[in-house]
Amino acid sequence: MNLDLQHSASMTDPLTGLSNRLGVETYLRELPDEITATGVSVVTMELARFGKVNDSLGADLGNKIISTVAKRIQKVFSHADWIARTHGDHFCLVFTGGIDIYEQIELLNDFTQRPLALRGEVIVLSVRIGVSEIGPSVESTSYLLHAAEVALHRAKREQMKRCFFTRNLEHEAKEAHQLENDLRVSLVSNHVELHKAISNNEFKLMYQPIVDVASDTVHAVEALVRWNHPKRGLISPADFIPMAEQIQVMDVLGNWIIRRACSDALTLPTNSDGSHVGVSINISATQFIESEILVSTVKQALEETNIEPQLVKLEITESAAFGSEKIRTIDALRKLGCKTALDDFGTGYSSLTQLNTIPLDYIKLDRSFIAALGGEDQLKDQRSDRITRAVLSIAQTFNLLPVVEGVETSTQCKRLRDYGATLIQGYLFSKPLELDETRKFIENFGKKAQVKGVEHA
């Protein structure tokens, strides 16, 4: 190793005595061409469960883990050209010359994943590794660290043990990064920015009707958020909600959705039988973390709009963690008069015990159940039929109103109705609509129902 660099204080990590990020960056940038020509590989590694260990056992033990792992790496990789702790639980090794990179990865895996015995605790970590090599995909050594980190990021996202950098990866990483940045710019978790994004109409709500086929009315409409990006166009929530959760702006966006949906709902016409159309709002799991904010936002939205609370239906996605805290929050929301629905029932962590403990009014059957219902494949149809009936009878037993999502054909609708499910959502009746289209849909649905009524008479 280059001792001049390694011993400069500004390039040393005080905890481990290894080089820091600046150190390895400088080393890579200044690597002479004749060494680069022999081949250069950069291996980045992160301790996969470190955050959890650090949280549960304390930062002091966390530091001890980092320094112990650093010692192991130093001992095993005395032949490495450079070793650094780039930040937090991230390490980086540089190899030059004709080494077998797979062998190095094996060694790194082996020694860092051996159990640690520290402060009377036995800790077993797992690691993820990202690798980049000088060559067609990375031509400059100063780019190697970044490339290895892009690969590591991918490994993390895809739950892989290791990942090698390729050019495609770079493209994907740039896209994701750009989207994340744009989202930050649009929100920045600060209200001024958010209001700007909202007044720019970048976020908007669309509504998909939930029809009650027994009374020929629109029972409610589900509010679905869309991000209308000035350059990228309409972005699906599947792409930006996880990101919003990750960069902790979901509560701000979530609160806007609640308020907006409540005030939009007030502008909806009534059904032809005089009943009001409700609004279904998705609540993200992260909104439950700041449960007091969630409850007060809903309360405020109800007060501001004066909407009848029972028209507001809050959809909660099933998750493993329905702890007592979360149940208390759902209880508090129901005490405000809102209805609650368990979303995507039967797909994730469905537990019948949960149906006993979570205070609920509706369960929403995931579209995957009924996808094959009434389809051409008889076997799939039978299976789909069986499970649909089973879930519907569960709903009945627990005294919950079932809402079936993803209904596309009249065969499906009829079958569901025969089984006692009358709340239907899906393309059979309507795709998600803009607010003004939603109003028209409700008006027309009432008229059609009347015509049908006359026909029946």
Binding site: V76, R119, G120, V122
Partner: protein, 149 residues
């Protein structure tokens, strides 16, 4: 003695060669333990059983941390599984820098489901079993061991 811990682990022998070679290596492990452990305040016992090393070390917490790091890096064994690392009231092997509990051809412990599993309770139980068995064996062979030390 305050801050007294014991650590029990099982690891797989990776020494290449016949049983004679293994015996030689075990002797050298014991010799270096006898040389270094007293100064560090470490005592313990070692059993070689069916291709596995079963070892208990006891001493001050920070010393055990260091010693374990040295042990687990030793290339004479691999697949180290730490069964437990816990505070103790008193030493079980206070008279031995490193007692040899025995060299046996058959594995004495039911390792199925312990090695490679993350079942902590089961590991702790096996750890306690290991300590108990080693204590018993060491006591049984006390005279033999003190003769050979």
């Amino acid at each position: 003695m305050p801050n007294l811990y014991n650590l029990a682990y099982i690891s797989k022998n990776t020494i290449k060669g016949d049983s004679e070679k293994v015996r030689e290596e075990i002797k050298s492990i014991l010799a270096s333990a006898h040389k270094n452990n007293p100064d560090m305040g470490v005592t313990g016992a070692l059993l070689y059983s069916g291709g596995y090393f079963c070892q208990v070390i006891e001493g001050p917490e920070d010393v055990l941390e260091e010693l374990y790091e040295t042990i687990q890096m030793d290339d004479r064994h691999g697949e180290v599984t730490v069964l437990h690392f816990e505070p103790i009231e008193e030493r079980g092997f206070s008279e031995w820098a490193m007692a040899l509990a025995g060299i046996e051809d058959d594995m004495r412990f039911d390792l199925d489901g312990v090695l490679g599993s993350k079942d902590e309770l089961k590991m702790k139980e096996t750890g306690k079993d290991l300590v108990a068995v080693l204590e018993k064996m060491v006591k049984q062979h006390q005279s033999v061991l003190s003769g050979s030390a």
